[in-house]
């Protein structure tokens, strides 16, 4: 990642602010992401990390600030806009439609149609089998509604959904929170594979242990503000913990407006 400084970032969020009523959920927060890089956004519950990332994914509209994609200003007002920039999000709540099957979920909103304009379920299921085969070879329950699947299987459906459409920028909100150890490991391998394809990934978590080893850089938020950013090689877990809890920026990190002096 040494040549990062010369490259144009894949995504750059500049001074994003968003208030709900009188509460500033995100207050001039900035973060960037380079191709093939994993950036973990850390912070307590309510630090504003999910809100910040929902601005990027189009679920919320920002009050002020700019979103730059590959150096150009992007217009993102709803999830459809975000998808058109290759931004895919895997939500904490695993936003899948429980009552339809895996293939229908993978293609939700972007269905394959036959030449008569009707749904081509067979083609969608066939593609779904290919993608899921790469991701989770044990997955066999294509005909069942997603509500009958286990947490890990649902997670793989959600991830398959994102990579199926050649996502360039992947946002994963608490990607391993609902998973067992083995499934967590699977997600880790998957992230490495996606990195090799040059996909930029935002990982959001309140638990540093979940993401520290997966990330190239961390960005810590507190009370809606950026505490600082750091390469995971330059700081220790304890120092990052200090950033999360006290807002204290260690020497290895680049301080932001939220850092305690």
């Amino acid at each position: 990642m040494n040549e990062n400084n010369q490259q144009t970032p894949l995504v750059e969020l500049r001074d994003i602010s968003l208030a709900f009523g009188g509460i500033k959920a995100v207050d001039e927060a900035s973060v960037s992401l380079y191709p093939g890089e994993v950036v973990a956004i850390l912070g307590h519950n309510g630090a504003g990390k999910s809100t910040l990332i929902k601005v990027l994914s189009g679920a919320y509209s920002r009050d002020s600030g700019d979103i730059m994609i590959r150096g150009d200003k992007a217009v993102i007002n709803n999830p459809r806009d975000a998808k058109s920039y290759g931004i895919e999000t895997i939500y904490q709540t695993l936003a899948v439609a429980d009552n339809v099957d895996a293939a229908a979920n993978l293609y939700l909103g972007r269905e394959i149609l036959t030449r008569w304009g009707t749904l081509d379920d067979v083609a969608m299921e066939s593609e779904a089998r290919k993608v899921m085969g790469r991701l989770n070879p044990n997955f066999e329950r294509f005909k069942e509604p997603v509500s009958k699947l286990s947490g890990g299987q649902r997670q793989s459906v959600a991830i398959a959904r994102a990579i199926l459409f050649n996502a360039q920028i992947l946002i994963m909100d608490e990607p391993t929170a609902a998973l067992g150890p083995q499934e967590t490991e699977q997600v880790g391998e998957l992230i490495q594979a996606l990195k090799r394809d040059g996909i930029g990934i935002f990982l959001i978590s309140h638990d540093i242990h979940d993401v520290f080893d997966l990330a190239d850089r961390v960005m810590v938020m507190k009370n809606g503000k950026t505490v600082g950013t750091a390469r995971t090689g330059d700081v220790s877990k304890d120092e990052v913990l200090g950033m999360i809890i006290m807002g204290k920026c260690p020497s290895g990190a680049e301080p932001g407006p939220g850092a305690v002096a």
Binding site: T89, A95, N99, E125, E140, K148
Partner: protein, 443 residues
């Protein structure tokens, strides 16, 4: 439920070998167990009423061509609206205003065809019924669009919007004609309501039956071909044949049934006199065949099933019902879909208004009163879940048939209105309870 095992592991293979015959039968034919349950309940109701009539009143009137034919016509109006209600309930909304919308549409159509169009086109003009029906459907669609807009974009709960609509449109229907009953309607229009002249006769019914059989066979053949092409597990050949035989058998049985109900003597006499037929009245046998409202219901059923299962719109409706947030995040324009659902519901109310007012040959101010409850009951008995995301069109039509069978049966054996209400109410609650238990077990 039905699970297809592509490469059964040892454990799965053992289970497949040991499973009881009935389970294997359901798995191979991929028939929904709930569908069988509903058909069983229907059979029970029909046979029960017939036997009760035979034993207590000395005459079993239920399982006669005449009663079943009438039953089919009576089911049409509720059935048409129930197909739309499925989509409304699947998206976790409700529409309490369908009876009132239907009343308003019927009243508007009566005014158009009785008061307005004859003045312009002349009485009995062949375009009258077409213009009237188109207007009725448009009015229904507009009312639905207003409701949908209020629900989707103003974020008013559908319960409140349509509760308001229930009162509003009933009152508006009264104001349209100051509470008068408008009758008779246009001659051609009245055929849309059934009756001897509003039926397609024996030959027409055989043609429709033949087409339906051909479609069933084509779908089975095409489905098999598609699965082969993508290397999906196939149904066993015996299961394909079983489905084909049962499907075609049922269709042809229904055709035989509607064809064995002859025109009543009075109508035949009239017809014979008008057409100079010399044969004695007693020897003329003219079949009713399918009534036009029943054909309308079948067409709506096929159309709505297609819409719900084969189109993007249908997929979105069910996805929104399953997880509204996920649907929104997947980039579906959920509000616009909601407006379209209510528009569709309104249009179907207009169509039901055509059937009902044509059948009564008049429009009265209270046409469709309490229909909303029967429509909702039909959808729910047919397996539509209030928690959203689950429901089928054929289920709703069967549900309408169950409701109407109960109603008709109790009239035939002479229960009075109070008892009828008690029974219908209890059956509704009971049916939903059974369904809840079934769903919990089906996991």
């Amino acid at each position: 439920m039905v699970q297809l095992v592509k490469e059964p592991g040892t454990e799965k293979a053992a289970r497949v070998e040991n499973e009881p015959f009935f389970t294997r039968f359901l798995r191979s034919t991929e028939i929904d167990a709930r569908l069988l349950g509903m058909l069983g309940a229907l059979a029970l109701i029909w046979i029960g009423f017939h036997l009760y009539g035979q034993l207590v009143n000395g005459f079993g009137a239920f399982l006669t061509p005449r009663n079943l034919w009438n039953l089919s016509v009576q089911t049409a109006s509720i059935g048409v609206m129930a197909t739309g209600m499925v989509l409304v309930i699947v998206t976790r909304h409700i529409d309490l205003s369908v009876g009132s919308i239907m009343g308003f549409c019927a009243m508007s159509m009566a005014i158009i065809q009785v008061w307005i169009l004859p003045e312009i086109l002349g009485l009995g003009h062949p375009m009258i019924w077409i213009i009237t029906v188109v207007c009725g459907l448009l009015i229904g669609a507009c009312i639905g669009a207003i409701h949908g807009y209020l629900v989707a974009y103003m974020s008013i709960p559908a319960f409140i919007v349509t509760l308001g609509g229930l009162l509003f449109w009933r009152g508006a229907a009264f104001l349209l004609a100051r509470g008068e009953t408008i009758s008779p309607v246009d001659d051609t229009f009245s055929k849309l309501g059934g009756g001897p002249y509003g039926s397609i006769g024996a030959i027409g019914s055989w043609i429709i039956g033949g087409i339906a059989c051909a479609v069933v066979l084509f779908l089975i053949w095409q489905g098999r071909g598609k699965r082969k092409r993508f290397n999906f597990p196939l149904r066993p050949v015996w299961a394909e044949f079983f489905l084909a035989i049962v499907g075609c058998g049922a269709i042809l049985g229904v055709v035989l049934l509607v064809n064995s109900y002859p025109w009543p003597k009075g109508i035949v006499r009239q017809y014979a006199a008008a057409n100079n037929i010399e044969t004695p009245i007693g020897e003329i046998f003219i079949s009713h065949g399918f009534a036009i409202p029943v054909i309308i219901l079948m067409a709506v059923g096929v159309g709505m099933t297609f819409l719900a299962t084969r189109t993007k719109f249908g997929r979105y409706v069910f996805a929104i019902g399953g997880n509204p947030e996920a649907a929104e995040l997947a980039g579906i324009a959920t509000r616009w879909v909601t407006v379209r659902i209510f528009m569709l519901m309104g249009t179907l109310c207009g169509l039901s208004a055509v059937i009902s007012s044509a059948r009564l040959n008049s429009a009265t101010n209270n046409l469709g009163t309490l229909d909303e409850l029967y429509v909702i009951a039909a959808a729910v008995i047919g397996g539509t879940s209030f928690s959203g995301g689950i429901g089928t069109i054929y289920g709703a039509i069967l549900g309408a048939l169950v409701m109407q069978s109960l109603q008709t049966g109790m009239v035939l054996i002479g229960f009075d209105a109070a008892i009828q209400q008690i029974v219908v109410g209890s059956v509704l609650v009971f049916a939903v309870w059974v369904d809840t238990v079934y769903r919990r077990r089906a996991k």
